[in-house]
């Protein structure tokens, strides 16, 4: 529904443009620009859901300059039309999104280039016009940016009402990049008019390399994380008692961090710390992992020593070093009142999940008991963090641990009996 509405607005804008603007001449040159535009647009890098950094904007602004004031807007907006066939949308069969995206793109491009064309001189463009054209491109980029994010925000809210619309917290770099791209496109357009077409292949090539390199960087980064995650998952599967433990810890950290309004990159680091903190178990002898009674202090020290071997290994990876530091730091909280927030939050989430799940030597405790213990150790974890975690869990109406004390006691009794039989 929304997609159709957006697309309708886009089509109206296009029809209006055909009425007031001249068709870009020569047509083959426009087609060339359109090919560049589409190539850059389709290879754009997804920064986070549906937010693309696309250098195609540069081509649109260059085209607006090259085709002159009379057909600038039409020339730029027509290049946008093929975006309705964006391969990503087609692959995921997101028809509504494709339509909405098309409408959003057309409307914001129309307004932005209209503003820009006001800064273009009437007759032939010379070097002296550059300052005014650059100013125009900067202003137009701001219009474009503001408008598209407004529209995308509305669309996201309608299409995914359950999702919090907060993905664009760090847009400033993107705003800046877009302005630079628009200005660069405008200057390229002027260079085309003054110097000739020779500027096109070299300009597009050097930009293309940057874009391809950026795309492979994004792909590689994902692959890197997937590789680590794969090993983590395999290690996790080893121990039935801790299966899913790291993911639950990551979840508790997530919801507590939302309560505390932590910066996304800190949450990301914590999430990774949660994922890798069980890796050390591979080096712990299975007999210790499965011990049927509580470990003695000596055995605990042995477990910790084994775990530390692997952690030290992981700290060799630059990317993982800060996460390992959080995990290691979380063990010595009692001795350090000045421990970092990350270490305390991680320790609290880890402790909560340990308490509310069964171990080979004891049953899970109830949620109330777990909360009590966290509150008792508030000096260690920080009372604000403890309250944030508790608030996040109770606020969502979620319950962890044994449903009631009676069944916890029953499990405890069965465990004792089994130990006696053995």
């Amino acid at each position: 529904m929304l997609g159709v509405g957006f697309a309708g607005a886009g089509v109206c804008a296009l029809v209006g443009l055909f009425l007031v603007q001249a068709v870009p001449e020569p047509l083959w040159l426009w087609a060339l620009f359109a090919v560049f535009f589409v190539a850059l647009d389709y290879s754009a890098v997804e920064v986070n859901d549906r937010l693309f950094v696309s250098s195609a904007v540069m081509v649109a602004f260059a085209g607006a300059v090259v085709f002159g004031r009379e057909s600038a807007v039409l020339a730029a907006v027509l290049m946008v039309v093929p975006s309705i066939l964006h391969p990503q949308d087609l692959k995921r069969r997101q028809w509504a999104l494709a339509l909405a995206n098309f409408g959003q793109f057309v409307v914001s491009m129309t307004l932005a280039v209209t503003v820009f064309s006001l800064f273009l001189p009437e007759g032939d463009i010379t070097r002296g016009d550059l300052p005014l054209i650059i100013a125009g491109a900067a202003v137009a980029a701001i219009v474009y940016d503001w408008l598209s994010f407004r529209i995308v925000a509305i669309a996201t809210r309608v299409l995914y009402p359950e999702r919090e619309v907060r993905p664009w917290t760090q847009l400033l770099p993107n705003h800046l990049a877009l302005s630079v791209l628009a200005v660069l496109g405008a200057v390229l357009g002027v260079a085309y008019l003054i110097v000739g077409a020779v500027i096109l292949p070299i300009g597009v090539f050097s930009f293309g390399v940057g874009q391809v390199a950026f795309a492979s960087y994004a792909k590689l980064r994902e692959a890197h994380e997937a590789t680590i995650r794969g090993v983590v998952k395999a290690v996790e599967a080893l121990d039935p008692y801790t299966r899913g433990h790291s993911e639950r810890v990551a979840y508790f950290i997530d919801i507590a961090a939302a309560e505390l309004d932590l910066a996304p990159e800190r949450v990301q680091r914590l999430r990774w710390a949660a994922l890798i903190h069980g890796m050390g178990r591979v080096a712990v002898p299975p007999a210790l992992l499965r011990a049927e009674s509580r470990l003695t202090a000596d055995e605990n020290a042995r477990v910790e020593r084994h775990m530390r071997v692997v952690e030290e290994l992981l700290a060799d990876v630059q990317f993982l070093a800060p996460m390992v530091e959080i995990v290691a730091g979380s063990r010595t909280l009692a001795e350090r009142p000045d421990a970092a927030l990350e270490e305390r939050l991680f320790a609290a989430a880890d402790r909560f999940d340990t308490l509310t799940t069964a171990r080979s030597y004891r049953a899970a405790v109830t949620q109330a008991e777990a909360f009590d213990e966290l509150r008792q150790r508030a000096d260690e974890f920080g009372s604000d963090l403890v309250e944030a975690l508790i608030g996040a869990i109770t606020g969502r109406g979620e319950v962890y641990g044994s449903p009631d004390e009676a069944s916890a006691a029953e499990v405890e009794r069965l465990v004792r009996e089994r130990a006696m039989r053995a």
């Binding site: 070097r127 660069l184 020779v198 080893l238 591979v282 692997v310």
Partner: protein, 398 residues
């Protein structure tokens, strides 16, 4: 080494003095000094390229200068001589003698070839004055010549001869093309637009360059981190006491050397390296009696390792290699089982050799073990490659 001292003396005194003298005689000292300053800065400032190498910016300066001066070869040669010497001195002061010396041969050679080719073509077709396309194709041809020269010089002067063949170093040098040609394009943008647009040309040239630089840098850093991660993950079975200490690194080292001996490309070599590191990761799961029950076979290890690796779609080719490492190279009645990739055999042979050595065998005996398996397990062609690697490294008795 006297030749090295001679080179340093030439660069430190000979080249700049000659350059300045010629420039004074020709009365274009100011132009030469401006371009030389750009060369010095370009030589000293590097752009990160693949495999942690640094690509000096001088190709961009050379292209821009050639276009702006309309291929005045004497001016180019003088400014190059002064500028690159100064750049060498800057690196020497800021970093160390070695990094300064390492860059030099490829740079001087490349620049000379560039000037020769560019001005040579220009003098053959001098009537194309002002024609952007013709000039662009001239600098393009000259840049390709520079690029090939620096790859050849790099391969010849490489200190890695022990581990890698020259061919591989040459191919690795060629892999740096994005950085080199981005520099070419940036220099060309400046050179083409400067006469008509003045200082705006600088903006046009530097913004795309900056974008490419940031992207390539991130790519290089991520590649390095990834490599580090693979190496580290490969050491987890060692940390858990499941394989001999250092096993993964040695198998990877041996596999890479054998791959280079067998003429693998850059990508294929990287896959073999990753496969060698991660070959035993499945043991982490199998160490648990609850999973492995009464023990496990090589096939289990290969399949578990492969399954763990395949979690990253990017590593699927690596997972496919690891999945086949338990298999022999042929079944009875066959010459060779085409389903077993050569890469899997390389890893298998390298791992078997290292395990034999870790058990205290002499290299000769370890090779004999491999030869004894030549009927079905170990491909004799690959065992022969291992022997050649060992011989090149001077391992006794091989």
């Amino acid at each position: 080494m006297p030749s090295r001292t001679l080179l340093r003396l030439t660069v430190l005194a000979g080249l700049p003095v000659a350059g300045v003298v010629v420039a004074v005689l020709r009365d274009d000292l100011s132009v030469v000094l401006v371009i030389a300053a750009a060369f010095a800065a370009g030589h000293a400032a590097g752009m990160p390229s693949r495999a942690g190498r640094v690509q000096p910016l001088s190709p961009a300066v050379a292209v821009a200068a050639a276009l702006v001066t309309e291929f005045a070869w004497v001016t180019l040669a003088c400014s190059g001589a002064v500028g690159i010497s100064a750049g060498w001195l800057i690196i020497r002061i800021r970093q160390d003698v070695r990094s300064a010396d390492d860059l030099l041969p490829a740079q001087l050679g490349g620049l000379s070839v560039f000037i020769a080719v560019a001005t040579g073509i220009h003098s053959l077709a001098p009537h194309t004055h002002g024609a952007g396309w013709a000039h662009l194709s001239m600098v393009l041809a000259a840049s390709i010549a520079w690029y090939l020269t620096s790859a050849v010089v790099g391969a010849l002067s490489s200190g890695m001869r022990q581990r890698l063949t020259r061919r591989l170093v040459f191919v690795a040098g060629l892999a740096d093309w994005p950085a080199h040609f981005v520099l070419l394009a940036s220099g060309a943008i400046y050179g083409v637009t400067e006469p008509d647009m003045g200082w705006w040309a600088l903006l046009l040239a530097t913004v795309p360059y900056g974008f490419a630089r940031i992207s390539l840098r991130r790519l290089a850093v991520t590649e390095e981190t990834y490599r580090q991660t693979i190496r580290t993950l490969g050491r987890i079975p060692e940390a858990a006491g499941l394989t001999p200490p250092g096993h993964g690194a040695r198998v990877a080292d041996g596999s890479v050397a054998m791959a280079s001996e067998l003429g693998f490309g850059r990508r294929a070599t990287e896959r073999v390296e990753f496969a060698a590191h991660l070959n035993d990761i499945g043991r982490v799961v199998l160490a648990d009696p609850a999973v492995a029950g009464g023990g496990h076979t090589d096939r289990d290890v290969a399949q578990w390792s492969s399954a763990i690796i395949a979690e990253a779609p990017y590593l699927e080719p690596v997972a496919a290699i690891v999945n086949e490492t338990h298999r022999g190279y042929r079944r009875p009645g066959e010459v060779r089982d085409e389903d077993v990739p050569v890469a899997a055999q390389v890893v298998k042979v390298a791992a078997a050799y290292d395990l034999a050595i870790s058990e205290g065998m002499e290299p000769v005996d370890a090779l004999e073990v491999l030869h004894r398996g030549a009927a079905y397990d170990y491909d004799p062609v690959i065992v022969a490659a291992l022997r050649r690697v060992l011989q090149r490294r001077g391992v006794a008795g091989t």
